[in-house]
């Protein structure tokens, strides 16, 4: 079967792919990000083979977990919470690798987006005689 390593990413479609997500500290509720509400990173219930994370990454994982539990905790079983903790932890190393990849300020994102362009809209009626510009255009 497949070789699992620390850098291995689950292959089978989105089995783990969609699950190997990471949380955004910036999207978490503010109170959960404060040092008061988040104690030092807690490796609570960490599985034995959990990836080794830097303190910063571990804190981020914990904030992500707490954000999920704060929003959805009442609908999750203890087993699901444990699973979420594992998923959130496993998601961090790939996220750290992605962030570490050097990109320049000018590197454009590979968006697949075609903005609405004028010719696709209903053409505007042209005035018979264009009015002269009253004032010089400013940019």
């Amino acid at each position: 079967m497949g070789n699992k390593s620390n850098s291995a990413i689950s292959r089978r479609e989105f089995a783990r792919r969609a699950a190997l997500a990471s949380a955004a500290a910036s999207l978490a509720p503010t109170e959960l990000l404060s040092s008061k509400s988040i104690p030092a990173p807690l490796p609570a219930q960490q599985p034995a083979n959990a990836p080794k994370l830097s303190p910063e990454s571990q804190a981020e994982v914990e904030s992500r977990i707490q954000a999920i539990f704060a929003q959805y905790g009442n609908r999750l079983s203890e087993a699901q919470k444990t699973d979420i903790r594992r998923l959130a932890t496993e998601a961090q190393p790939p996220l750290d690798r992605l962030r570490a990849f050097a990109t320049d300020n000018g590197d454009g994102p590979g968006l697949y987006l075609k903005p609405l362009i004028e010719r696709e809209r209903k053409p505007l009626a042209m005035p018979a005689t264009p009015k002269p510009a009253a004032t010089p255009k400013s940019s």
Binding site: A8, R11, R12, R97, T103, K114
Partner: protein, 469 residues
């Protein structure tokens, strides 16, 4: 009772008989329906059959052909559509319990295109719930339960176009439509021993198809040969103003006829040296033989390595973020708990938490790898490797823990929207199919089709089919 062989004829072979009026579309449809009713449940291949629609379309096709109005190679040919494509008035379940009663009042563009060329829809193919968009741990992650591989029913078909793979391999329809965001056409094609084409992103309209990751979702054919894939692709490709992700008119359409092969360019093949960390022994042998075949019949075959970088990581984030957005109401409402798979019930909560800045970093990385791959395709027309490093896996396997390996080519191919084809290239010692994959430059779908077609002109693996009684 018709002979078994007719169920495994290619579209091209069936079309010849239909055009010559030696084969009745109504009779062909009826025998496929009978076979699908009998064998479909054995493989959990269908979400549901559509006999009324099928017979109505088959009768119309037959009438037209009798009158001399033959529309082309798909006229009167029975097919199945993955159950994430909207068909007016019919349930479209997306393979998931929360959508079990969902009915649309319009057709997906692909369905309309196939109707336009006279193809006959016999049913909706089963699939992994939400095409795996919420994650899944087991093959059973489907409203229609686990799809069983016709080559060995203790094994899986792979996902998420699971039913599409089973239907084509078992000869329940002449072809099927699948979709791929990451691996969902290539993997089932490899596991089921069929030919599957993942077109360039934007070449086939997704209008009326379930959105998973809109910047990566693609629709393509699964059939018995690369040539069949070309014919089906020609019918469904093209710009669609209803899908803003489709490429412009002049780049969208695809035409195919066997005569264009006379003018085909010699293909330069790059044999990938780092696509898979290891190949299972049963896969390695057929792949080595395939390499020898390529060296014999292609103009050049040279080793090449994929660029190294966090391409998979970028792909993972793009899929996670976009799928969380696509299924936000399902996640927020808590109905995600109705999904079958334990991972699918919770992964959306994690995916929802991504930062916008990380998503944009992933899109920047996408741009970088797009350029790198475009340069690579200045040297090679196609790159090739095993479609999967393992053969079909047991139905009960925990995919999350027991089937994890790096897949840089899948990551690169899908975040860059590159076309790919998987064609059968042999069997393991347990008689499970092995697939060979060709990947091409964005927009050069013809190169991967030509590569698959050339390989199949010199091999007969695609003509093998499982013995089904």
């Amino acid at each position: 009772m018709p002979g078994e062989e007719i169920f495994h004829l290619s579209v091209s072979e069936l079309a010849k008989r239909i055009e010559a009026k030696k084969l009745s579309p109504v009779e062909l449809t009826q025998i496929y329906l009978d076979r699908s009713q009998k064998l479909g449940p054995r493989f959990n291949a269908y979400a549901h059959l559509t006999p009324e629609i099928a017979l109505e379309q088959a009768k119309a096709a037959e009438k037209e052909i009798q009158r001399g109005h033959y529309r082309g190679p798909l006229h009167g040919i029975p097919y199945a559509a993955k159950d994430l494509l909207a068909v007016k008035g019919l349930p479209t379940t997306w393979g998931a319990k929360p959508y079990a009663d969902q009915v649309f009042d319009y057709n997906a563009t692909v369905i309309d295109h196939l109707h336009g060329v006279g193809a006959v829809m016999v049913g909706k193919a089963s699939m992994i719930e939400l095409a795996g968009g919420m994650g899944y741990r087991f093959a059973s992650a489907s409203l229609q339960r686990e799809a069983k591989n016709p080559w060995d029913t203790t094994c899986w078909t792979c996902g998420s176009s699971s039913g599409s793979g089973a239907i084509v391999a078992a000869g329940l329809a002449a072809f099927a439509i699948g979709t791929e965001t990451w691996g969902s056409i290539i993997c089932p094609s490899a596991f089921c021993g069929v030919s599957g084409l993942r077109p360039t992103y934007g070449r086939v309209s997704r209008y009326g198809a379930m959105a998973l990751a809109p910047s990566m979702d693609k629709i393509g054919p699964m059939a018995r040969s690369a040539e069949d894939c070309a014919r089906i692709f020609a019918a469904i490709a093209g710009h669609d103003p209803k899908d803003r992700g489709t490429v412009p008119i002049d780049k969208g359409a695809f035409t195919y006829s066997p005569s264009i092969e006379l003018h085909s360019r010699p293909l330069r093949v790059g044999w990938l040296t780092n696509a898979w960390k290891t190949l299972a022994p049963g896969v390695a042998k057929p792949i080595e033989a395939a390499n020898r075949t390529l060296k014999k019949y292609f103009s050049s075959v040279k080793n090449v390595a994929l660029p190294v970088g966090p391409w998979e990581e970028a792909g993972n984030i793009i899929v996670a973020v976009e799928s969380a957005a696509s299924f936000r109401s399902l996640i927020r409402s808590g109905r995600v708990s109705e999904l079958t798979d334990p991972l699918g019930q919770i992964a959306g909560y994690v995916n929802e938490q991504y930062a916008g800045a990380d998503y944009l970093q992933a899109l920047k990385v996408r741009e970088i790898i797009q350029k790198k791959m475009d340069s690579l395709f200045d040297t090679f027309d196609v790159i090739a490797t095993a479609a999967q490093p393992v053969p079909a896996t047991p139905l009960t396997l925990n995919l999350e823990t027991d089937l994890a390996f790096p897949d840089p080519l899948g990551g690169i191919g899908n975040i860059c929207g590159l076309p790919a084809i998987s064609v059968p290239c042999g069997f393991t010692d347990k008689n499970l199919p092995v697939g060979l994959q060709f990947v091409g430059r964005a927009g050069d779908d013809y190169a991967v089709i030509q590569a698959g077609r050339t390989f199949q002109l010199h091999t007969d693996w695609h003509k093998r089919h499982p013995k089904i009684h």
